[in-house]
C-alpha cells in the first residue's frame, strides 16, 4: 500500500472540520480545554515516538524541547511584542538549532547511553532555567501571562479560537510526521533501528539520518510546548524537567510504539486517567501505579500494539492472508 500525502491531507481536512464543528453542536468548555492539552501532549508524544518507535532511539530528555518551545515562545511574546506567527516561526528555529547542537553530540551514542546523555542535557538545561532568573523567572516561571495579540483576525486569548488553532496544529503536525515516517527517509530510519551496521554497509549515512530525526522530533516537541504555554498563559520550569520526558515516555508506552497513532491514543488515555483519578482520590499515585502495572504486566505492551497483535492473530486475518497467498 503506497502512502499518499494527498489522502492524508483529505483525512486531515475532514478531521479538522469535524473538530471545529463539534463545539458548535456540543458547547462544552471542559472538552475544549481537554483537547487543547491533548493537542499539546499528543504532538509532544508522537514526536518522541519518531525517535523511540521509528528510530529505536530512546530519549529520556525529550522534555527539553517541550520546555524550550514553551519558554522561547513565551519570552518572545512577553519581551519583543512580535506577532504570534513570527514568534512561532522563531521558536521553531530556536528549537531546531538546540536540537541540532544537542543531537550532534547525543546520536553518536547507542541505546542506554543515548538515553543517559539526553537526560543529562535536559537536566543541564533545567538547571539553567532555574538559575537564569532575570530571563526565565527561575522557579516561578514566566509570570504575568503571555500576551496574545490578534493576528489575521484570530484571537488566541479566546479559548474557542485557541482550540481551533490547536486542532489545526495537531492535525497538521500529525500529517507532517506521518509523511516523514512514510517517506524514504522514514524507511531508512527503520532500517537503522533494525540494523544500523547493515544500513551503514548499504551506504546510509547513519549519523546524518539519526540527527535529522532528532531535530525533527525536537521541532514537533517544541510545538507541543508552544500550545501548552498558550493554554496556561505562562511557562514553568516543570515543562523542562525530566518528569515531562517521563510523561512522554509513559504516554508512548501506554499507547504503543509500533503504530503511528499509538501516542495519540496514549495521550487520551493518560489525560483521561489523570483527570478522572484526581477527581475521586488523593491517592493518585496508588491508582495510577496499579493501572500502569495492569498495562505493563497484563497487556505487556501499549494498547494499540496489543490491539494490532490481536488483529493480526485473529482467524479472519490469518485466513485472508492465506487466501492472498
Amino acid at each position: 500500500m503506497r502512502h499518499s500525502f494527498r489522502r492524508d491531507m483529505i483525512i486531515g481536512a475532514i478531521a479538522v472540520t469535524a473538530l471545529v464543528l463539534l463545539p458548535l453542536v456540543w458547547p462544552n468548555k471542559a472538552f475544549i480545554d481537554f483537547t487543547i492539552r491533548g493537542a499539546s501532549f499528543a504532538l509532544f508524544a508522537t514526536s518522541l515516538n519518531l525517535l523511540v518507535g521509528y528510530g529505536g532511539m530512546v530519549s529520556f530528555g525529550h522534555g527539553m524541547f517541550f520546555g524550550l518551545g514553551a519558554y522561547s515562545f513565551g519570552l518572545l511574546m512577553q519581551r519583543t511584542g512580535m506577532s504570534i506567527p513570527a514568534a512561532f516561526a522563531l521558536t521553531i528555529v530556536v528549537t531546531a538549532a538546540v536540537a541540532l547542537a544537542v543531537g550532534a553530540i547525543c546520536v553518536r551514542l547507542k541505546e542506554i547511553y543515548f538515553a543517559f546523555l539526553t537526560l543529562a542535557f535536559q537536566m543541564f538545561l533545567y538547571s539553567l532555567v532555574i538559575l537564569w532568573v532575570p530571563l526565565t523567572g527561575g522557579d516561578q516561571g514566566l509570570r504575568g501571562g503571555i500576551p496574545r495579540p490578534s493576528f489575521l483576525g484570530i484571537d488566541l486569548a479566546d479559548q474557542r479560537q485557541l482550540y481551533i488553532a490547536s486542532c489545526v496544529l495537531l492535525v497538521g503536525g500529525l500529517i507532517l510526521m506521518h509523511h516523514i515516517v512514510e517517506s524514504p527517509f522514514g524507511y531508512t530510519l527503520r532500517m537503522i533501528r533494525d540494523n544500523a551496521t547493515r544500513a551503514a554497509f548499504l551506504g546510509v549515512e547513519v549519523f546524518r539520518i539519526k540527527l535529522v530525526a532528532f531535530v525533527l522530533a525536537g521541532i514537533f516537541g517544541g510545538i507541543g510546548g508552544v500550545i501548552m504555554s498558550l493554554f496556561v498563559s505562562g511557562a514553568y520550569p516543570e515543562f523542562a524537567n525530566w518528569t515531562m520526558s517521563g510523561e512522554a515516555v509513559f504516554i508512548v508506552m501506554l499507547g504503543g510504539i509500533s503504530t503511528f497513532f499509538g501516542p495519540v491514543v496514549g495521550t487520551v488515555i493518560l489525560l483521561l486517567l489523570n483527570d478522572v483519578v484526581t477527581r475521586f482520590t488523593e491517592y493518585y499515585g496508588l491508582t495510577l501505579g496499579a493501572i500502569i502495572l495492569l498495562f505493563a504486566l497484563g497487556l505487556r505492551r501499549g494498547l494499540t500494539d496489543f490491539l494490532l497483535d490481536y488483529w493480526r492473530r485473529s482467524p479472519w486475518v490469518l485466513a485472508a492472508a492465506k487466501r492472498g497467498r
Partner: protein, 420 residues
C-alpha cells in the same frame, strides 16, 4: 477522597460523581437553579508528593470553618460545597484543575491553596475566567503588590514576605543591638521565595542597624536532603548570627544536622519559619533559643479565642494546625462575612464587599483582620517573633510586630519597586 460536602467525605456525592463520570466526564453541567442550591467552591491544592501536608492542613483549615458557616445557614442561605483537587504541585496541573473546577464542576468561587508558581498559574486562570479567587498560601509579595499582576477578582488571605521581613528585620536588629551581633550569614533555600525573603530581611535588618555585615551566604536547594556542606561552610565562616528561611522538612533536616555539629550553640540563629507546628513537633532535639517568626502558634495571639480554635482543630483532626490552616480558615471567614454584608453569594458582589472588609478573627493582631482595599491583600494579622524552648508550648512568649511600622516601610518598598 477529594470531594467534600459540608463535613468530611460524603459517599453519595462520590458515587454520584462516579456515575456522572461513567456517562462521560465531559457531560455538560446541569443548569437548574433552586432556592438553596449549594454554592460550590473549588480548591486546587497540593495533596501528593513532598508538600502534601500543605494540602491536607489547608483542607482541614477550610473544612473546620465551612462546617461552622453551613451550620449558620451557609453563604447568603446557600450551603457551601467544597470541591478540593490535587494539582500534584505542577503549575500546569493547577491551571488545568482550576479551569475544570469552574468550567465543568460549576464552582463559582476559587480558593487557590497552591504554593508559589502554582498560585501564579491559578491567578492567570482567574484573570481569564473572571471568577472570584482567594489566594491562601502564596506569600510572594508581588502577587498582590505589583499592579501588573493585580486583578479585581483576586484577593490574598495569607501573610506575605514583605511584612515578615520588616517585622523580622526590626526584631533581629533589636536582638543584634543587645547582643552586639555584627557579623551575619544567611542560609536559605535557593528558589524565589528563599532569595526574595532573605534579601528583604537583610535590607530591613540593615535599615534598623546599619553596622551589620553579611559576610557569607549559603543557598541549599529546595528539598535538599543533606546540609552538611552548608553547615560546614557556616562553621568556617563563624558568623555571630545566622538567618534562614528554610521551612518544613528542610528546616527540620537542617536543625537535626546542625545539632550534631553543635551549630546552634555557636551562633545566634534566626529561623523565620521555625515556629510552626509542622517543624516544632517534628524536630526531636529542638535547640533552645532559636529566634523565629510566628507561623502558627497557639500561644500567639495570647487570646482564649486563638487557643480554643487550635484546640477545636486538634480535637477534630488529631493534629496541630499549621500556618496553612489559619490562612485557609481565614479565606472562608472572609467569604462568609462578605456574603453576609452583600447579602448574596454572587462572586462579583462578594468581591466588591471584600475590598476593605474587616472581620473579627482569632488570628488578628488585635482580634481583627482586614482585606486592604488598595491591593486586596490581608493586613493586621498576628505577626511577631519569639525564641524556642525544647518542649511545649515551644515558643512561650512572642513579641508582636508593629503594624504602623509595617505600613510605613511597605509603602516605601512599593514606591522603590515602582508599584505605587
Amino acid at each position: 477522597m477529594a470531594t467534600h460536602r459540608r463535613s468530611g467525605i460524603n459517599r453519595r456525592a462520590v458515587i454520584k460523581g462516579a456515575t456522572a463520570t461513567a456517562i462521560g466526564i465531559m457531560a455538560a453541567p446541569m443548569i437548574s437553579r433552586a432556592q438553596a442550591k449549594p454554592i460550590k467552591i473549588g480548591m486546587p491544592t497540593i495533596l501528593s508528593g513532598r508538600v502534601a501536608q500543605l494540602g491536607t492542613s489547608s483542607r482541614n483549615g477550610v473544612m473546620l470553618e465551612v462546617d461552622k458557616v453551613n451550620a449558620a445557614g451557609g453563604l447568603a442561605g446557600r450551603p457551601i460545597e467544597m470541591v478540593i483537587r490535587d494539582s500534584k504541585g505542577q503549575p500546569q496541573e493547577a491551571a488545568r484543575v482550576a479551569r475544570e473546577l469552574v468550567n465543568s464542576d460549576g464552582c463559582e468561587i476559587l480558593i487557590d491553596a497552591e504554593a508559589s508558581s502554582g498560585a501564579f498559574a491559578v491567578h492567570e486562570v482567574a484573570r481569564d475566567l473572571k471568577v472570584l479567587c482567594l489566594h491562601t498560601n502564596s506569600e510572594t509579595s508581588s502577587l498582590t503588590a505589583d499592579p501588573k499582576q493585580r486583578i479585581a477578582n483576586a484577593f490574598r488571605t495569607c501573610r506575605q514576605g514583605i511584612h515578615d521581613s520588616i517585622v523580622g528585620g526590626a526584631y533581629a536588629a533589636k536582638v543584634a543591638n543587645a547582643k552586639k551581633l555584627a557579623k551575619w550569614m544567611t542560609c536559605s533555600p535557593d528558589y524565589a521565595y528563599g532569595r526574595d525573603t532573605t534579601a528583604q530581611f537583610v535590607e530591613y535588618l540593615k535599615h534598623f542597624k546599619s553596622d551589620v555585615e553579611v559576610v557569607s551566604e549559603a543557598w541549599p536547594k529546595l528539598f535538599q536532603p543533606d546540609y552538611t556542606e552548608v553547615i560546614t561552610k557556616i562553621l568556617q565562616t563563624k558568623p555571630q548570627a545566622l538567618y534562614s528561611c528554610l521551612w518544613g522538612g528542610d528546616l527540620t533536616s537542617f536543625i537535626e544536622q546542625g545539632n550534631i555539629y553543635a551549630l546552634f550553640t555557636q551562633t545566634e540563629t534566626f529561623a523565620v519559619n521555625m515556629a510552626d507546628y509542622t517543624a516544632l513537633t517534628v524536630v526531636k532535639n529542638l535547640p533552645k533559643g532559636i529566634h523565629s517568626g510566628n507561623r502558627y502558634i497557639k500561644t500567639f495571639p495570647t487570646t482564649p479565642q486563638n487557643a480554643s480554635w487550635a484546640d477545636a482543630y486538634r480535637a477534630k483532626f488529631n493534629e496541630y494546625p499549621t500556618n496553612w490552616s489559619w490562612q485557609n480558615a481565614t479565606a472562608i471567614n472572609f467569604l462568609a462575612a462578605a456574603a453576609k454584608k452583600a447579602n448574596t453569594a454572587d462572586g462579583a458582589k462578594i468581591a466588591e464587599a471584600l475590598r476593605g472588609l474587616t472581620i473579627d478573627s482569632p488570628f488578628g493582631s488585635n482580634g481583627k483582620l482586614t482585606i486592604r482595599a488598595e491591593d486586596q491583600t490581608l493586613v493586621g494579622y498576628a505577626i511577631g517573633w519569639g525564641t524556642t524552648i525544647p518542649t511545649e508550648p515551644y515558643v512561650p512568649a512572642v513579641t508582636a510586630g508593629d503594624w504602623k511600622q509595617i505600613f510605613e516601610l511597605e509603602t516605601a518598598w512599593k514606591k522603590k519597586n515602582g508599584y505605587l
